[in-house]
């Protein structure tokens, strides 16, 4: 909820600043309440979409890692950050056995 609200409030803040500082908007916007409400709704929806995609990606990457691990070659094809971690684990395990 913090991420969603954070994105929503920051977007509303930026739009509010735009409405107050850009000459065209500062002249035409008399009451910014409705604009802020619509902006807040749009930003909230977009933050929800982002978090949903992020959640699905975490799930998919985790499952792919598990499939690779079961196959026995989890280090070969995985992305850099994960490979670094797995290399470090391997290194620690080798040091432990030595």
């Amino acid at each position: 909820l913090l991420v969603r609200l954070g994105i929503t409030f920051l977007t509303m803040l930026v739009v509010y600043i735009l409405a107050k500082t850009v000459p065209y908007y500062s002249n035409t916007v008399q009451d910014a309440t409705l604009i802020m409400l619509v902006t807040g709704f749009a930003a909230f929806t977009i933050s929800c979409f982002f978090i949903s995609v992020y959640s699905d990606s975490i799930e998919a990457i985790y499952m792919t890692y598990l499939v690779d691990k079961e196959r026995g070659d989890s280090c070969r094809e995985c992305p850099g950050e994960l490979r670094d971690f797995l290399d470090e684990v391997d290194k620690q395990e080798n040091e432990g056995t030595l």
């Binding site: 920051l10 409705l34 982002f50 975490i58 799930e59 499952m63």
Partner: protein, 333 residues
């Protein structure tokens, strides 16, 4: 309203601004994933200890569930035991927590490098809105199939007597609504999951490949996953209609709470099954049920990391819940 119509460009500006801020948050999560997870664990332990101490110090039991000081002390002890258990698990699963952190960072990296994939749920949301409009029009059409009748003091529009076969038609129409909504939600899950899997294996154009694979080979699996989720939702709907949610004294009885909890558990398990199945389908191309079984067995084989990943996913609010609530079929949780 006139001000809004005149400055609609300001509202349109908010969309790219929100996307840029969301990307910034992705970057933040990528940099602070481990801090985030350890903060969650610290908060859980603090909450348990704090609640336990509060129960011991407070003269009355705030929850009101346990009676007398013995019950309060027992609940406080359980809180302390849980806190110690989490601490022990933290020590034992430190490496698995680090693995979960890496996976979360990698996922943030994927989103940051393919931020346009967010447009897919946006597109499906628009499709859902169009579908809902058509569905409502169809419903009105079915209503008008009834026999027209007039009574005294009726509203100034046509009234129709709904016959039994129209009621059956309505029932099928509701199944059709749920099925299509679930299909659209699962389509997003399948393609995003497929793109993430392709990216993991270093494919050149992960999103296009996932979309093509979905359209050419696996649309049936998504339809099947959709109907399973729709049937689960339908069962819950029937349960909520048939069983009154409030008892005589205005509170839910124990067995109603148990049934709600069971429904919630079934839904979560099936969501888990479906999402895992889609990833396995994307990797191996196997049918839905064997893929789900494999995904479940893989997750159950790695309980430590699976728990941490699941907790982070639960903490991160997702649109699917918003989507379902918005469409009138709330998630059990």
């Amino acid at each position: 309203m006139a001000s809004l119509m005149q400055n609609y460009s300001l509202v349109l500006f908010s969309i790219p601004i929100a996307i840029i801020i969301a990307l910034f948050f992705m970057l933040l999560i990528r940099c602070c994933a481990s801090t985030f997870i350890y903060l969650l664990i610290f908060l859980a332990i603090s909450a348990l200890i704090g609640f336990g101490v509060y129960l011991l110090v407070s003269p009355t039991n705030p929850a009101g569930s346990a009676t007398g000081s013995a019950g309060t002390i027992a609940v406080a002890v359980i809180c302390f035991v849980f806190a110690v258990l989490i601490l022990v698990l933290l020590c034992c699963f430190r490496k698995r927590i680090a693995l979960a952190t890496s996976i979360i960072k990698v996922a943030a990296n994927f989103i940051a490098s393919h931020c346009l994939i967010v447009l897919l749920p946006v597109l499906l949301f628009v499709v859902t809105l169009i579908f809902l409009t058509v569905w409502v029009l169809q419903t009105l059409g079915f209503y008008s199939l009834g026999v027209p009748y007039t009574t005294a003091h009726q509203y100034p529009f046509a009234h129709f007597q709904i016959t039994a076969w129209i009621q059956v038609l309505f029932a099928f129409h509701i199944v059709y609504l749920l099925w299509t909504l679930m299909f659209l939600i699962e389509t997003s899950t399948f393609i995003v999951g497929g793109a993430a899997t392709n990216w993991y294996y270093g494919r050149e154009d992960p999103y296009s490949e996932a979309s093509q694979k979905y359209l050419k080979k696996h649309i049936g699996s998504v339809v099947f996953g959709g109907i399973m989720l729709a049937l689960l939702g339908l069962l819950r709907l029937i349960y909520e209609v048939l069983v009154p949610q409030q008892g005589g004294d205005g509170e839910k009885s124990c067995w109603q709470k148990c049934c709600n909890c069971l429904c919630c558990l079934c839904n979560k398990l099936f969501e888990w099954f479906t999402t895992g199945a889609f990833t396995i389908i994307n990797i191996r191309g196997t049918p839905f049920c064997p893929s789900g079984e494999e995904a479940l067995s893989l997750k159950l084989g790695n309980p430590g990391t699976s728990s941490v990943v699941a907790v982070v996913q639960a903490v991160l609010p997702c649109l699917s819940r918003f989507f379902r609530c918005w469409c009138g079929w709330g998630s059990p949780s």
